[in-house]
């Protein structure tokens, strides 16, 4: 392997001068710079990252923990994050975990093994962080969940206002004249997102003067097609005179619609459905799905910007809300 020593020998300068050129220092003569750059190009030399980071005791990597592996929105956000970080000299280490894995434990593991300079957390429950997060004293951004109640000085967050957004979804159903509305979401004990959206639902029910019986019209399922399918079956069985359903993700909405159709309900004539996330899928689905659009690009870019702000510029923590948007579709019918 060609090392900095080879470049030094070949260019006639010392190792440290080569290092200076490599790191774009300005305390080196134009002559030396030119000659060394020639040799570097000739030998296709690229410095060894391990040696570099060993000396600087700096991994230049950032960890991404994704909780909820089949979440399409997360997939889009992760992709965007990767694209952004790729442009810098950082590496990204992505770790996927199941909806019910212990995120804090995984985070600690990741930190011990890879020693990242910062952490990006998709879908984690801020409440859990109390448990053991103080241990990993790293800049960290919680993406898609607001952590403004947490008092870790290095924990930022970027998220959609889930309460308001879910309320907006259910409001839309009430405004279309629906009275018997079912909710299909995650486990509010485990998923903080589900918990918040549930709160939003409650608010809407309250505001519309409707009592809400969670045990009756809240059905929990995982955020996947199949699980939503089965959840919808249970929900409609318990509550057969439903005229509308709010599903807490587009994927769930689609699973629910398939279940309803298989039971010969027509969408939206018999039952209206609204989803959440606003992925491409919602727009192309049949019927075009009414949904709440989250700005996944903004979520991704802001979280990376904030994290780098904390790591490199020692900026303060930030809690940022990214606006959402109601997207009308063909899956809601006025009654």
């Amino acid at each position: 392997m060609v090392t900095i020593k080879d470049i030094a020998r070949e260019s006639g300068y010392s190792v440290s001068t080569v290092s200076r050129v490599l790191n774009h220092r300005n305390d080196v003569s134009p002559d030396a710079k030119k000659r060394i750059e020639e040799v570097v190009a000739e030998y296709h030399f690229v410095p060894n990252n391990n040696a570099k980071h060993l000396k600087q005791s700096n991994s230049k990597s950032i960890g991404v923990l994704v909780k909820g592996i089949s979440n399409m929105l997360f997939a889009s956000i992760v992709e965007e994050i990767q694209r952004m970080i790729e442009k810098t000299d950082y590496t990204v280490v992505v770790s996927y975990l199941d909806e019910d894995d212990d995120e804090v434990e995984q985070a600690l593991l990741l930190c011990r093994e890879r020693k990242p300079l910062g952490l990006l957390f998709l879908g984690g429950n801020p409440e859990y962080f109390k448990k053991g997060f103080a241990m990993v004293d790293l800049p960290c951004v919680l993406v898609t969940n607001l952590a403004d109640k947490m008092d870790f000085s290095n924990l930022s967050s970027v998220a959609t206002d889930d309460v308001a957004a879910a309320k907006c979804a259910v409001d839309a159903l009430f405004e279309a004249g629906h009275q018997k509305i079912g909710i299909l979401g995650g486990d509010i004990e485990k998923s903080y997102t589900s918990h918040l959206r549930f709160e939003g639902c409650l608010e809407s029910f309250r505001e519309h003067g409707r009592p809400f019986f969670p045990e009756l019209c809240y059905e929990k399922a995982r955020f996947s097609y199949g699980s939503a399918y089965r959840g919808m079956e249970r929900l409609i069985r318990k509550y057969p005179d439903l005229t509308a359903v709010f599903a807490m993700s587009d994927v769930m909405a689609i699973g629910a619609i398939r279940a309803l159709r298989d039971m010969d309900y027509r969408i939206p004539e018999d039952i209206s459905v609204i989803g959440f996330d606003g992925t491409d899928l919602a727009e192309y689905y049949n019927p075009k799905l009414a949904t709440i659009k989250q700005q996944y690009q903004t979520l991704a870019t802001r979280s990376v910007e904030i994290l780098f702000g904390q790591i490199e510029l020692k900026k303060d923590r930030v809690h940022e809300i990214v606006p959402f948007e109601f997207v009308s579709g063909e899956s809601i019918q006025k009654i």
Copy 2:
């Protein structure tokens, strides 16, 4: 930071004995092993990867290049690959590139910067490899494209037989009685996958005694909803008496269906559609999409296994075909 020296001092043994325990060597006494493991646990010590890899001049990382960023099948495969590699002591570096980026250049860049021990290539065109791949003399597996014609000794591949699978899709349309069949795929000049599937289409047309006019019934688009939507519009305009369409991905099929519906065609009554990939989406779409199911899990696991075989066991290159499956749906009507 706690280092191996601290553990050595604290346990009363030397650095090298600690190192031996850490690497599960068996030339160390049970006493020492026990004592050292205690101290390691107490201090939550994890060896510094940079130092380790520097000494071993071994990055223990594998690079994944993904060409075609919005390909849902690739997303699933990558996820699966990440999950597999996560269990080993390797790191994975994923690099996404656009459908029309230059993959070889990107591969070389990745190799120079990260020095991975092997490469996994999703959606690359084997033809391009001639250009500059010999330079990066690394074990490499082309996933979803067969490279049995390439004679690089360290280039393996795992793929679905695209020719046969596409033929199977078009056969299904012919067998349902269709005569005027349109094809919606990628650019056969640039996308090798599209090229192969196009060949499969040709074979089917030939076998059914039908002439095939690519300029008439082959419409090229990118593998995304929106692009397929516009492609379908053009296709139906050029060829208005179409009764069936084969779209080269499920996403494209769905984009096409939306375009057709917007022009008041009914699916499948007026036009039958068959997709490709067999993602969950196809099963839950409305109408349930007929498609060709690729075994994405097998593709992922086999490619990782083969790559590790080449890296660690110095095994020979392998070209492996993973079987596909025809999945019937509601989007095809017999006539």
